[in-house]
Subunit: 229 residues, 2 copies
DNA sequence: TCAATTCTTGACCACATGGTCAGCTTTATC
DNA sequence: GATAAAGCTGACCATGTGGTCAAGAATTGA
């Protein structure tokens, strides 16, 4: 009946926005947990505190709801995976990337898992994205990494495998959170843990690939901070 | 040895074994793709080339079938994740571990994905395993790594995060194969690719954590070489 | 005020789900 | 060859699925 949370709520489409948000959030969790097929609209509706018919009213169909969630997650990624240039400081770029990736896993764990579930299922809805947009993204970054290697700013490792290494090791803390918690015997990963993990990953990747800061014109000789040889 | 093609086959329980194998293999794929809820016995039966009733006849229930698959995968893992001692050569051990893990991802991709799907879903069937057997396994290895660090054989990094790093970066090539293929534009990852990836991961981890061979009778020329096993 | 629009939802549908069962056929054993 | 055991499976069931719909309730705009 009368929701009457904020009767003074007046912006156009306020009801729609509120309900859609509730549905999207609920659906993200359920889809992440059970996959596309395993998720049921009944459960999503229940989590959102609405009757099933209402979910269909707003979202049209299960498929549309799912696609919308995937697109929302892609948007979040795009907001973070900005472009880099060969002139950038490799240490900075790699560190920032790892840090951003971990934070995204933390701020949107359900979305990360949703994505993982979609890939596990063979990416029926994301084939195009993988082979198009994302592939291009990877290739661009790989090209920059190769230039860095050529200039001696890092070891000549295959950039694509390096990107996958960063991707997987950061993604892990969202997708496999259950495993991490179970094994470490914790109930949550707090900010402190995450910071520690971030530092660890940055350290290992930087050192492991021999990534160096560019020798700036004015900089005194040899400032190797994190890594040691 | 005896394969199942001829009707003249007659070790005790040969029929049962053959059909169960067919069902298990089919089920592993379907569960991996769609998760526990999303998988249907109909599809499993179809993949196995049997009527649905027959699947139930052999497996009892969907749940039993699923649990059995999980247990089979745990067994495979146990066969590889053998124990280590502080006296072992760290470089050897880490290299062998990474290599074995990659090979398991390759030899049993569906099983790996099945496991991933179970974890993604919150590990409803594997909570005990994670908090018991596996946790113990990790803690034992972590203890050894700490001793290595104390003896200066590696940097004093947190061993648990290191284990997760290895775990996630190797697991990735099974669980997210679709993504890897899509992005790299390949249709399969052949043995050569896998070997390259293995070498890369070993190199980065060994170098990144400053893992050294114990000072033995002779020290080989310092440039890192990948261990073989 | 009053009509147009948006929202809400229970009843309903065709179909798929996991699981049971009874009766059949095949295989194993003596 | 007889009998027991194992294997097989279509018909069937209760329940759950995604989705439709119509009719009413609430909100909006003039």
């Amino acid at each position: 009946m009368a929701k009457a949370d904020f009767p003074r709520e007046q912006e156009a489409g306020a009801i729609r926005r509120r309900n859609e948000q509730a549905i999207l959030q609920a659906a993200e969790g359920v889809f992440a947990r059970h996959g596309y097929r395993g998720a049921s609209l009944q459960e999503i509706a229940h989590q959102a505190g609405l009757p099933k018919s209402n979910v269909l009213y707003y979202m049209g169909s299960k498929r549309k709801l799912y696609v919308r969630l995937l697109e929302r997650m892609m948007t979040r990624w795009n907001a973070i995976l900005d472009s880099i240039s060969p002139e950038d400081d490799p240490v900075e770029v790699i560190s920032a990337f790892i840090r951003a990736k971990i934070q995204l896993s933390r701020s949107h764990p359900a979305g990360s898992r949703l994505f993982a579930s979609e890939i596990l299922g063979g990416a029926p809805f994301l084939q195009d994205y993988l082979q198009g947009e994302l592939r291009e993204w990877v290739e661009n970054r790989a090209a920059v990494l190769r230039q860095w290697a050529a200039r001696g700013l890092m070891d000549p490792v295959d950039p694509v495998w390096l990107i996958f290494l960063i991707w997987s090791s950061t993604q892990h803390y969202a997708d496999f959170e259950t495993q991490v918690l179970g094994i470490t015997g914790r109930t949550t990963l707090d900010d402190e843990d995450l910071e520690e993990i971030t530092q660890f990953l940055i350290r290992v990747v930087i050192k492991g690939c021999g990534i160096k800061r560019p020798a700036a014109v004015e900089t005194p000789p040899d400032t190797l901070q994190t890594a040691e040889r």
